[in-house]
Subunit: 337 residues, 2 copies
Amino acid sequence: MTGLVAEVLSGSRRAVARLLTLIENDRPGAADALAALYPHTGRAWIIGVTGAPGTGKSTLVSALAAAYRARGQQVGIIAVDPTSPFTGGAILGDRIRMRDLSGDSGVFIRSMATRGSLGGLARSARDAARVLDAAGFDVVMIETVGAGQNEVDIVRAAYTTLVVEAPGMGDEVQAIKAGILEIADLLILNKADRPGAAQTLRALRTMLELGHPTRSAGAVGHHGAGALRSGSDSAPIDGEMWLPPIVQTVASEGTGIDEVMTVIAQHRVFLSAAGRRARLEGGQIALEVRDRLREALLTRLLRQVSSESIDSMVERIQARQIDPGRAVESLLATVDL
Amino acid sequence: MTGLVAEVLSGSRRAVARLLTLIENDRPGAADALAALYPHTGRAWIIGVTGAPGTGKSTLVSALAAAYRARGQQVGIIAVDPTSPFTGGAILGDRIRMRDLSGDSGVFIRSMATRGSLGGLARSARDAARVLDAAGFDVVMIETVGAGQNEVDIVRAAYTTLVVEAPGMGDEVQAIKAGILEIADLLILNKADRPGAAQTLRALRTMLELGHPTRSAGAVGHHGAGALRSGSDSAPIDGEMWLPPIVQTVASEGTGIDEVMTVIAQHRVFLSAAGRRARLEGGQIALEVRDRLREALLTRLLRQVSSESIDSMVERIQARQIDPGRAVESLLATVDL
């Protein structure tokens, strides 16, 4: 394992790939390797990219990767699919990306799908980002499909989070996005040349105003919501606050990518000031510790409680002889952790 | 609390609403009330409804509720929004439903949004379904947006799970759905009068064939994939197997709703035979016990470990003096659970 760690630190793609497989399969040695690599992390900029299916996230991530490559940066991409809880199926977008970016050793792409365990995917993605960080990648993008709690957990490892939207999704979508918007440092309206873009843009602005009252009227009102512009909304920094700008892109044609890069850079500058990044990272680590404690405790418990006693408790619950809450209390009373 | 339990058992809507609020806010008394109600559960048929935003789930659930009402059944609806992790925002569809179904005391509708705790929403939804079950509702529908692990967890409380699709979502959607399809007992292609319906239908059939090899060629091939039919695919039961049929609906016009009702009834008959429902429920309870153990253990731990010692550990992790895995081990070494 020491050899593998040294190879990862030297930037070996093969070693990175091998370690990611160990992590994904929760193999012995993965934890030791992560521990050894951990002091070498904290240098890469971690970018989370999330949004509903069909918004063109993969294309956008490819375009951003190409733009970072053009600036001489090494780019790691972790494509997470939390919507395949049972099959662990391949991600379509990934194949497209492979075609566009393959052959460039400055880009490393890895797909991850759920393998059953709840929360395991968010952990694996976070650990994978650390491996890429330690291996010397300058930028690590964690891409995930969807807009639920799982996706929020997955992008929680990121410093800058992009939420991707596309025109032509119904009113329902707009109402739903109110929550996910709150994790966005940058909102991207991709496919901005499609019909309905102006309407979606208006809806997004309205929601941002609701979420960030200070940017209402004055801050947003002077922008026309008409034709496609490749450009962000108003200045994102207002004193102590970061106001998530909306950037319109047509990722398949490269339109708006420079603007996205600029806003990500602005956000990085914003976070670097006044100890903001340290606070963000501290909060992320606190959540991670809690999450790991929960898993470790369950593992300990399952070493002490026989599967027979759990099975018989399940039977009693099913027979309505005891309710699940009381059942768990009585199981806990028998163990000494 | 005893009074509240008695009122719930007598079917009081007001008592049900009060108890659901206690459950949602994790208030004292909620666990005791649930324990007291638990022996009275197991009579309602629990239906899970999930699917991407914009597929018309809410309209479909309303139409199904009306159809069950017309058959004299009491219907409870729990509308879960896991995509609002921070705001707990209202669900648009819910307002529409309220307008259609309000004034009918045989229908009870409750919206639930996340209030921060991971997994808490799935627990609340499951407990809410139990309250409605004990209160005498014949059918309880748990509706949730999305197609990720959280939604899988939420519908895990259901006996029959409907996955709703709509035409005109991109290829990416189709690839993604491979996982969610595996939880579907019934696939609904809603908005089946829209352009692209035939194409989406073909894609769904292809995926079902991949998932259920026995239904390939013969079982599916003889169905034309052309014009809108209000009807399911082939017979859903093949010996010991349930083959999820596809039903095309236009829920806003009531088209296909009778067919959906028929397939749900067939699935109920299927599950009632050969101990299938008991096995399904046993598996659900086993997962619930594991989930509850995990939460209870963390609560115990947090009673013993001071927030200062967790904070200082977070600081050491952030300073890269210790890695998160080792940090959790050393925290666990200090406690006696």
